[in-house]
């Protein structure tokens, strides 16, 4: 399909900058109108309508211009756009799509119009600023997912965190300032570590090539080597300690672990989830958390494969500990939003189990897991937001028997919850299956524990769901609740349909993801030093499973 001369060849730039440019344009027009006519600028309703149009158009552009023509057979990057930006500091504009970020980009562009629709009524204070930050957040997250230059990735990362900080801190609930500050502290700590690692990489690359460069791979048509061509010592023998893979990996891993969020660096997350407005909460679970997983897979694993292999058993163990902890916390949680936060940590455990099995099946599972986590938890958070909008509370004990007044809500929430605990037929099942298949290969007992933790959180969710949806209507206020209207139904179905589609027929998506994952696995294998540590756990080596 032709996209016209202005878009063809620059489709990713259009996608990346359209939301941000819309925000800037709205700001400028507002200022202009204020200056010329002396009014208070563009009304909030216009902002909202223009933002919805812009984000929807971005989503359509991704579907028609990127996802539909994406060639699943092609190994390597597609729709590459490359330009010098600040070449003296190694910053290039280098964006591209492959199987790993394809669906995350789609998820990002899908979530924004849905979130705008979901908060159509209940954002009254500073509507224009709210929309401004949402649009900036979208562009920033797209920058994170699309960038193949480490510094551009980092800048986008920072921008996304700052935008989220304002969304939580200004439009959140009762404890919004506390939550936003906590979020900024944790995220700032992670970003600082990432920044340090990037500086080291810049220096190492400069020493090796004589020119600054922070592109992950060699850009097309250029002989400038990428970071993946850079040889980084597996351990600190012969080099400064901070130049070894071990410490660089730790820096990156800690930075990403904060946003994953991995226990014990998760403290900010339940608080932020509880305090954020529905839109912020949905964007955080659907997109914010996936940035960490993506960073690990795109940068940390291929750049530092020996260190990744050495730390793999520890991270797998941490993942399962996180799951168990979160599962236990979820059992006694009354606040629905916080329960979902713990559920996100449980899902993360599966994702990390797959990722750090360092096996193709597990890596594919992790990519799909990111997507599934975004879809399922995004849907759950939006639904809980709709309930909160009606009743002003999210405590399970305030409800009961909702199936009477709100059958559609109960039905859709049931599907979203079942999918989020990995019930067969949903996207959650497919990714958990792949992650566990890889997990069972390297650490069967950990994988079995992960299953038990998943079961635990599943049971607590069922219990909460049953209390919420079934039984007699105890609180009179619930009797008159309005069921979801068509706007709400449509936006939830936009998430439920891909969840079921991926669950019932995941192969088309897997076919697009797999070649890129195999490429990452190949890069890791190539960069591994022959005497480096091995990926599998000691137990499985002894047994000679593979």
């Amino acid at each position: 399909m032709g996209l016209g001369p202005y878009v063809e060849g620059h489709v990713l730039s259009w996608v990346l900058f359209m939301p941000g440019a819309t925000a800037a344009l709205l700001l400028l027009s507002g200022a202009l109108i204020r200056g010329v006519f002396g009014s208070s600028g563009l009304p909030g309703e216009v902002w909202r309508a223009v933002a919805l149009g812009s984000t929807s158009l971005t989503c359509l552009l991704v579907i028609a211009g990127v996802v539909a023509p994406f060639d699943p057979e092609k190994i390597g990057l597609q729709w590459v756009e490359y330009a010098d930006w600040l070449p003296a500091y190694g910053v290039q504009y280098f964006v591209a799509v492959d199987g790993i970020n394809l669906y995350l980009v789609l998820l990002t562009t899908l979530m924004l119009p849905l979130v705008l629709l979901a908060s159509w009524r209940h954002i009254e204070r500073s509507l224009r600023s709210f929309i401004f930050f949402l649009l900036i957040f979208e562009s920033a997250v797209l920058g994170v997912f699309l960038s193949f230059n480490v510094l551009f990735f980092h800048l986008s990362w920072q921008l996304a965190l700052v935008a989220m900080y304002f969304i939580v801190g200004i439009w959140g609930g009762r404890e919004r300032v506390f939550a936003a500050t906590k979020f900024l502290l944790y995220a700032g700590f992670g970003s600082m570590l990432m920044w340090v690692v990037i500086l080291v990489l810049l220096r190492l690359n400069f020493e090796a090539t004589g020119a600054p460069g922070l592109d992950l791979v060699s850009p097309p048509g250029s002989d400038q080597p990428g970071l993946l061509d850079l040889s980084i010592a597996a351990t600190d023998g012969g080099v400064e300690w901070w130049q070894s893979q071990t410490w660089l990996f730790v820096g990156f891993a800690l930075a990403f672990a904060v946003t994953l969020p991995l226990v014990p660096l998760h403290g900010w997350f339940p608080a932020a989830q509880a305090a954020a407005p529905t839109a912020g909460s949905a964007l955080l679970v659907a997109l914010g958390l996936q940035m960490g997983v993506y960073g690990l897979l795109r940068f940390a694993l291929p750049l530092f494969p020996d260190a990744a292999a050495a730390f793999a058993p520890t991270i797998r163990a941490l993942a399962v500990i996180s799951m168990t902890y979160a599962g236990a916390r979820a059992l006694w949680e009354q606040d629905l939003r916080r329960t979902l936060a713990y559920l996100a940590i449980v899902q993360l455990g599966f994702i990390l189990l797959g990722l750090f099995s360092l096996d193709e099946v597990g890596l594919v599972g992790a990519v799909l897991g990111s997507l599934s986590r975004g879809l399922t938890l995004g849907a759950c958070v939006l639904l809980v937001g709709m309930l909160e909008e009606r009743r002003g509370t999210r405590l399970v004990s305030a409800f009961g028997g909702l199936v009477g007044p709100m059958p559609v809500f109960v039905f859709l929430l049931g599907i979203a919850l079942l999918a989020s605990v990995g019930v067969p037929g949903s996207s959650g099942f497919v990714f958990e299956l792949l992650a566990l298949a890889a997990g069972f290969e390297v650490s069967p007992w950990l994988a079995a524990t992960a299953c038990a933790a998943g079961l635990m959180v599943g049971l607590s969710l069922y219990r909460g769901y049953r209390r919420l949806a079934f039984g007699p209507v105890v609180v009179e206020e619930n009797r008159g609740l309005m069921d979801l209207d068509w706007r709400e139904r449509a936006l939830i179905l936009a998430l439920i349909i891909p969840i079921l589609g991926l669950g019932l027929y995941p192969n088309p998506a897997l076919r697009r993801i797999e070649p890129s994952v195999l490429e990452v696995a190949r890069q890791m294998a190539e960069r591994r030093s022959p005497d480096g540590p091995v990926a599998t756990s000691a137990g499985s080596q002894e047994a000679g499973v593979r």
Partner: protein, 691 residues
């Protein structure tokens, strides 16, 4: 083997589960998004049509399979479903259906008995709540559940099997929680859902372990036939398998077996929940009937028989399954002797009967297990239909002590009851139940002697006596004796149902008797026909390719006579005890019969209390752990405490004043710290670079 693995292509197989699944989906969508769009009658017609289509295709596929030869399987490969990885670790599962002898037998029973039950409910609408929306919900769920059960028995691979297992569990939970507006119904649905989820995860772990076991063989994969072939093909399986899950491969196979037992136990638990939570009021009879005959019972039977190849290599797991089965058989029968609700008796009876199926399969008698499932579907379906007629005739009353003498009005229903009772109790030779139960008893008698097995044989015989007792007690209390009807029931209005319902009951009654020909043992064929009939046990030979049946006649003639005699004797004893206790009632005998029952009445509550100890302990521990967990990493500050009261461990290490500054909520403090830290680190690296 190659033929069996490849199978003959038959695109029609997808049309077995598809119609009921499509109907279930359609009715659910109409019910949720367009309430009242379809009338009750239209909904019933659509549901029956879906199941009828499925049954017709099942019959055609079955005949195709028979004509294709015994070792052949039919395969319908629709698409690649899940595919990831390369080489031996690749995880590939096709969206594919496979019809072999075992799945053919089960798909016929599930679609056939499912059709009859749904037709019966359609013609007897009083069994369902009066609201049209509720009826629509029932037909949607019933269609969906039968469709998923069919998908389960036709699944070609482990992944599809899991999907179908979940579907069945989900539909069971929704049927169990049918009356969700009542607290009891909601709780029952929740329990069934949780039990199903435990089963899901157990099946997932079993499948992944199986997949791993076979990753090193020539034929790694998730296909059921492939897995079975590869596992059986492993020379010295115990030595060749990985050791990480136990001491030697046998330990791993036992682990897989235990997971499968857990999955089966989850189905058993669902039946127990149906039976135990005063099934009369919480779960409506039709949903419970489906679970007891085809969608719960048959699924559990199929699961254990399908994975018999694992149990044959995993003696510990097989022992656990036998033990579980025996316990379920006895406990189910004992509770059936005690409860007063007519449908509760039948529900506990199903628990007991599933126990017998597990015993048979655990002992390696797969044909006996399959035959028991099939005959049970026939006679239990008949008994449940008859019970439904009684309940409807007396305006929803379930308590048998408030019935009596109904047989004089419900004459045809009474015949149905007696045919079902004879088949269930296994007391009358020439019923399907007699021959199926006899094969179970023979399997327990023929097992290796030993303390555990030595207890199973008498245990099964005792269960038979109890079975005869409770079913005759049910009939006598409800259909004979004095009339004890509640005042709102008019005697003149109590009458047999309309002919279509009688036809449905008649079909199952015929099958309860004629079904005997399916698995007519050679021993009896030789006895009745002087050896003129060879291979009389058609089911045994039909299943030979799909499962690993034990020898058809493991006992010699004298032993077989002894076993048959014992079976009949125990049944007669049970019958006699019930007749003496509830019909003849001579004073001394009544006292004698009621003595143990009174004792049981006293013991049963204590047994229930004892059984619930782990649950109560779990709750207590849960509360304590909950209190402890809430104390960990308290990341929610008390509302009045202010934001600085965080317990993030890392920050605690820093000076208290600094934390207060940083967490005061002012961005500039945080930014100042970030900038300072960044500059410090930058300075360090510049300095380090210079040296």
């Amino acid at each position: 083997m190659l033929n069996e693995l490849a199978g003959q292509t038959a695109a029609s197989l997808r049309m077995i589960p598809f119609p009921p699944l499509a109907v279930g989906f359609l009715l659910a969508m109409v019910g949720i998004f367009g309430r009242g769009a379809l009338s009750r009658r239209t909904v019933a017609v659509i549901a029956v049509a879906g199941l009828a289509a499925s049954f017709i295709v099942s019959v055609i596929a079955f005949s195709d399979l028979v004509f294709a030869g015994e070792t052949m399987a039919l395969v319908d490969r629709i698409a690649i479903w899940i595919g990831a990885g390369v080489g031996s670790s690749a995880l590939i599962g096709d969206l594919a259906l496979r019809l072999d002898a075992l799945s053919a037998a089960f798909s016929l029973v599930i679609s056939g008995v499912g059709l009859l039950l749904v037709f019966y409910v359609a013609r007897l609408p009083e069994l369902l709540p009066s609201a049209d929306a509720d009826a629509q919900r029932f037909f949607a769920l019933a269609s969906f559940q039968v469709g998923m059960s069919l998908l389960f028995v036709l699944a070609d691979n482990l992944l599809l099997l899991m999907l179908a297992f979940l579907g069945v569990g989900l539909a069971s939970a929704l049927l169990a929680g049918f009356r969700h507006v009542e607290a009891e119904g909601s709780r029952l649905g929740g329990r069934v859902l949780m039990a199903g989820r435990v089963g899901d995860v157990a099946l997932l772990v079993a499948s992944l372990l199986l997949f791993r076991v076979l990753a090193d063989t020539d034929a790694p994969g998730t296909g059921l036939a492939q897995v079975r072939g590869a596992l059986l093909g492993l020379e010295g399986a115990a030595a060749a398998l990985p050791t990480w899950a136990g001491s030697g491969g046998a330990g791993l196979l036992d682990a897989i077996g235990f997971c499968l037992v857990l999955a089966t136990a989850s189905l058993l638990a669902q039946l127990v929940f149906f039976a135990g939570s005063s099934a009369d009021s919480a779960a409506p009879l039709p949903g419970s009937a489906l679970m007891q005959t085809v969608t719960g019972m048959a699924i559990a039977g199929y699961l254990v028989v399908r994975f018999a190849f694992v149990f044959s290599e995993a003696p510990l797991a097989a022992g656990a399954m036998t033990g579980l089965g025996m316990a379920a058989a006895l406990v189910g029968a004992l509770f059936a002797c005690r409860v007063r609700g007519i449908s509760a008796v039948l529900a506990w009876s199903s628990v007991s009967q599933l126990g017998l199926v597990l015993v048979a399969s655990g002992m390696g008698a797969q044909t006996a297990a399959v035959f028991q499932v099939i005959s049970h579907a026939f006679f239990k379906g008949l008994l449940l239909m008859a019970a439904g007629v009684v309940v409807v005739a007396i305006k929803g009353e379930h308590d048998m002590t408030r019935m009596g003498n109904l047989g004089s009005r419900l004459t045809l229903t009474r015949i149905g009851f007696w045919i079902g009772a004879f088949s269930l109790a296994g007391g009358l030779p020439l019923t399907a139940g007699f021959f199926s139960i006899q094969q179970v008893v023979i399997a327990t008698r023929a097992a290796d002697p030993g303390l555990a097995h030595g207890l199973i044989y008498p245990g099964v015989l005792f269960t038979l006596a109890l079975t005869a007792f409770y079913i005759v007690r049910l009939i006598l209390l409800s259909l004979y004796g004095e009339t004890r009807l509640p005042s709102h029931v008019h005697w003149d209005e109590v009458e047999d149902p309309e002919p279509p319902i009688l036809w449905a009951m008649g079909s199952l009654a015929s099958l309860s008797i004629l079904g005997a020909v399916i698995g007519f043992p050679q021993f009896w064929a030789d006895f009745f026909f002087n050896g003129d009939i060879e291979r009389s046990n058609s089911l045994h030979y039909f299943l030979a390719s799909g499962v690993d049946p034990a020898p058809e006649t493991p006992l010699d003639a004298a032993q077989t006579w002894a076993v048959s005699g014992s079976t009949v004797l125990m049944t007669v004893l049970g019958f006699a005890a019930a007749i003496l206790g509830y019909a003849v009632r001579p004073a001394r005998l009544v006292a004698w019969v009621h003595g143990p029952q009174r004792l049981w009445d006293r013991v049963a509550p204590r047994l229930s209390a004892f059984l619930s100890v782990p649950i109560r302990l779990g709750r207590l521990a849960g509360k304590r752990i909950g209190a402890a967990v809430r104390g960990w990493g308290r990341d929610r500050p008390p509302a009045e405490a202010g934001p600085h009261r965080t317990s993030a461990g890392l920050l605690r290490l820093l000076a208290d004043q600094l934390i207060k500054q940083v967490q005061s909520g002012f961005v500039q403090h945080s930014l100042a710290l970030s900038v300072t830290g960044s500059l410090a680190l930058l300075a360090y690296f510049l300095w380090a670079g210079g040296h």
